[in-house]
Symmetry: C2
Subunit: 329 residues, 2 copies
């Protein structure tokens, strides 16, 4: 019996959300739909332009743990925050949703990380991330006991961008392998895949059991313009993969199985921030409860649809109640 | 007597220019006005969208040497190309304009670097650079004799992004200091400053004689939103600095001197690609000929104005003839 369904490692990031139009993105040199790492000065420069922005706890893997909590699952989040206002709010938010915090709380160096997220009228989000102390998560911050007590270790691809966090992941993966904990990775962003393609592919060959990607990331991973080629490559891999395709739904594969899952209908697209994270929450919750693969995908669709109909990357309704109403749990 | 007015080190890059609107940038996640490094897959993805693009030799520091050549000056360019079609055209273009090539021509590994540059109707350029072999310029590719034979060594800030090229620069700087060659740096891009601020500032304190920046880069360097504060910091530095401000002209400082140089009038803004590089060409040509500081700035304005009225980053008219007609030389 394991304590946690999922232990997730990721950048602890407070999202600062601001609604803006495409012209704003162009004026400020922001790459639409991407995640761009920025320094403190650039963060201040953007902040000065964003009056009326709202602050909410975010971070890709942490959003996934929040989703698992909302499904009634047991999740732990491993990350690093500073003992500052944002860090305290961040920890409080995890606690409220029933997610255990592991990792580190520091009172030195950089402040708690944040991401300036511009949400355009089409619901797309463009992220400008100041990592702050999140980028300094180190191997000694990883409690291998937490990893060993989880069914699945879930890792954010973004962590590859920093040498410290990459070393921390390697330690967590070794602990997972030793304990029989399954290892899952999300590719995070197609630019991130461009930076770390080779390492991600090596990781697939050596340690991964479960992979999450969206369509652009999957194509970038296998360097193809054709979705079907990326899909065939995922099948050939032979492990479990979930590829999300926005309104086209998702494709889940595992060993010989393939399921094509529809996107859940929505009334209004408000903000895609967190959509992939919440899909992963539903899918991982299903996997950890040994639900059939198609059901795991449906739970992912349900959680993603809830997420994109409001501003912010975490559930505002009980995913457990929604899943029960839909007859999925 | 020195053989070269300027020896410049930079990424040898072929520009692939394509006229596009702001919506194209947003659709493809391109940061307007910035230089973004991309991988080979992303390069192919963009190339597939750019029918009718034109290819011209580019690269920031190489454009500057082309400008110096057009002024009738003597310049050497230190970079790395592959023995492929783009590499051959690149070398031919330097030869035609009378710029000596140093560095390396390789027949192994990555191809000649290129940059997919989107030019929007407002004349702004957004660069997506695949470094190719340019990013592998190594210390052993630096001929210190060339550096010692130049009055000024000119360095592109973009080179800081790769460990190899950074080591190559350090070797060139050491050779310059030993030979009494002045050392100049361009900050290249405000995101580049965000990545390497501390190293650039250390370099100013230790080795630089001349610094080029545009307004955004100068503000980023000193982490201020106020141009005047960046200007005061440049003055306090005490060496020679030229800060370009687009249509607001430029500010040049040297020891106690300050000159405010107007931008040259233009008929039509076509493409800002290379504007800063050509300003540097005029300014460095003037400095190497011991012209008064204000005159150096005027030569910079003249070269930049020629550049931005046509597509492509290198002069299409004789800058020497234009400068003579304007009574500047």
């Amino acid at each position: 019996m394991r304590t946690y369904d999922v232990a997730a490692i990721g950048n602890a990031i407070v999202d600062i959300l601001f609604q803006a139009d495409d012209a704003f993105l162009n004026r400020h040199g922001i790459a639409k739909g991407a995640m761009t790492l920025i320094d403190g000065f650039r963060a201040e420069t953007l902040a000065a332009q964003m009056t009326g922005a709202i602050e909410v706890s975010g971070g890709s893997a942490a959003n996934t743990t929040a989703g698992i909590g909302s499904f009634g699952g047991h999740a732990a989040f491993i990350g690093k925050v500073h003992e500052d206002r944002l860090g305290e709010v961040y920890l409080e938010d995890l606690k409220r949703i029933g997610v255990a915090f592991s990792g580190a709380i520091t009172n030195e160096g950089a402040s708690t990380g944040c991401s300036y997220i511009l949400v355009t009228p089409d619901g797309q989000r463009s992220m400008n991330t100041y990592l702050g102390c999140a980028g300094t998560l180190r191997p000694q911050d990883i409690d291998t006991d937490i990893v060993a007590k989880a069914q699945i270790l879930y890792i954010e691809g973004y962590l590859w961008d920093q040498a410290d966090t990459k070393a921390a992941i390697r330690k967590a993966i070794a602990a997972a392998r030793a304990a029989g904990t399954k290892v899952a990775l999300t590719l995070s962003d197609s630019f991130c895949v461009g930076r770390w393609r080779q390492e991600f592919r090596e990781l697939m060959a050596s340690d991964l059991d479960i992979l999450f990607a969206n369509e652009g990331e999957a194509k970038a991973l296998f360097e193809t313009q054709h979705f079907d080629e990326a899909f065939q490559a995922m099948r050939a891999w032979g492990k479990t993969a979930a590829i999300t395709r926005s309104e086209k739904g998702s494709v889940v594969v595992s060993a010989g199985d393939v399921h094509l899952i529809d996107a859940d209908p929505i009334d209004r697209l408000a903000d895609t921030t967190g959509a992939g994270d919440l899909f992963a929450a539903g899918f991982l919750f299903g996997l950890s409860r040994r639900l059939p693969l198609a059901r795991c995908g449906q739970l992912g669709s349900l959680a993603a649809a809830e997420c994109i109909q409001h501003l912010g990357p975490r559930p505002q309704q009980s995913l457990r109640a929604m899943a029960a109403a839909a007859g999925l749990v």
